[in-house]
């Protein structure tokens, strides 16, 4: 792989980056000694997942909300 390709974003990197962002938040919580926010943050992560599922549905989103 040349330098140019190594510099580019790998395919399917989105989920890995998202997980990395979430793990950074968790590390930061323990570093800043606010680890008790973890349950709240897990709840937020679930909401984020729901929002992203629905956003992916685009114009069909309002029809998906009742299912959730």
């Amino acid at each position: 792989m040349d330098a140019e390709s190594r510099r580019r974003r790998p395919r399917g990197a989105g989920i890995a980056i998202a997980l990395r962002s979430l793990s950074r938040v968790v590390s930061a919580m323990f570093r800043e000694r606010v680890g008790w926010l973890l349950p709240l943050f897990i709840g937020l992560a679930v909401v984020a997942l729901l929002i992203s599922i629905i956003s992916a549905a685009g114009p069909l989103a309002p029809f998906i909300y009742p299912l959730l």
Binding site: R9, S21, E32, A48
Partner: protein, 598 residues
Amino acid sequence: MNILGISADFHDASASLVMNGQLICSAAEERFTRIKHDARFPEQAVEFCLAQVGLNAGDLDRIVFYEQPWMKLTRVLTDVMSRFPRSINQFGRAGRSWLTQKLWIHNRISRAYDIHPDAVRFVPHHESHAAQAFYPSGFEQSAILTVDGVGEWTCTGIARGSRKEGITVLETEEYPNSVGLAYAAFTAFLGFKPNDGECSTMALAAFGKPIYADNVRRVLTPLSGGRYQLDPGFFNFFGDADRLFTPAFIRLFGEPRRPGDPLPFSSTSAPEHVSADQQRFADIAASIQLIFEEVLLGLARRAQALTGLDKLCLAGGTAMNAVAITRLLRECPFDQVFVPPDPGDGGAATGAALLACDEIPATSPPPTPYLGRQYPEQSVVEAIQTLSVESHHRLPGARAWSGRLTHKEYGDENALVEVVAEDISRGSLIGWVQGRFEQGPRALGNRSILADPSDAVAASRLSRAVKQRAPFRPYALSLAVEEAQRLIPGVDLREAARTGRWMQSIHAVNEGCVSAVRQALHVDLTTRPQICSPADNRIFHKLLHAFGARRGTAALLNTSFNESGSPIVSSPADALITFLHTDIDVLVLGMTVIRKAA
């Protein structure tokens, strides 16, 4: 090595490009989108940075974000949840914004520019500020003081900067112990918009006496050794913009001022009648300004004690407080003080990019504020021949004219400045657009509105029918460097003394010269000057002298080229629309002069 710095998502999104350790260009997104303090991802600013040097996104080695969002989220959640159950609305708003956008900035950047995620870096907010102040200063070593609202958790930072060893953070103060947020809360209390109207608080302070200083010390206490303590019981930093303070604050200072309520003060004349409440607001402004200066002075002395160095670099939004900077220059033991042209978050993209460099050159060219985009004016100039403007599409108070325009292009700078100087000396208001626009909120002769600083009629028209500006806010003065000692005796003219060159400090004007520049002075006969040399801005320096040849003083009233509520103009089209909408008489785009036909 090509490094792009980005700031976004909170306020003043911007982009800066550094190539091989040298800052090449920088721009705030608001200049392109025309949304003041636009915080959204700076797509257009990035596009400009790449186009400026002919790069593609694939040519970037690194992209650096100016803070660490995951750290910031811990602080946001801690703060919001600490106010349970009253903060349910804030939790909803913050939750939506973080979960849909802010938390995923890494992915957004990587995807937008097709760059490997490991080439996207994040640096702490205050460290971006430290780098934005130190590296462009040209100092070999200096103390660095960063004071703003809040980054991730840090509100204040003291560091040591060295060309050889880099930047070392020595001490920080954490949220909620924030001077910047306290000042913003007082700004909101006085009826101005926080993170925007702090300059109004600073201007209003000149009309009051600090009789509430003890009350302010109750909420923001300077401590010995240069530290300070904020009492969070008086503040609600997560509240809406107009409720950054609690009922306890109101009990201490009285009812807040409603936005838009009149203030009778004027920078150029004595008020006819001032009510008790109006005076109270001025006195409160004076009081917070005094205590803020005390705190900043204490921090600067502490920085000096910790580092033992004789130079200071200052950044963070509070570094725009020119009155406080002036006091720092006067009373602190530092030989030189450097404040970057945009010390706030808009300039933090620059710091982020510099911080990510593997190597900063030992020597760099002198810092310049002219880092934005330069536009060709031709498309607008061709269009104005057929342009016709309806009379009712102008600002109230703008003078009637035929609705048509004339234009003339000059081949020679000297001829151009003579014509423009003549217009100014006859009372015209000039919209002046040259070269690359400035970084930061100050117009330094490339995107300016200019007027005769002795002409009260012109200044009044400028306030009423162009800037819609409150009369208590003074205008600034641009003067040729050759006039500086005469107009402002004792001013520091050393090359490295930038505060006087970039409207960052306040100076008293020589009594004998007051009448020549009265409209650009505050009520206490001080001004916030731009001191311009040929090396700083050649054509603007020529214009100053051309005007000086006519009126005896090479100095002009200089205010930013924008209407109230809008960012400073960027393109010729922006300038033309502002020119047509307001009472500006003449528009100068490069070498072309456009006039409103009678």
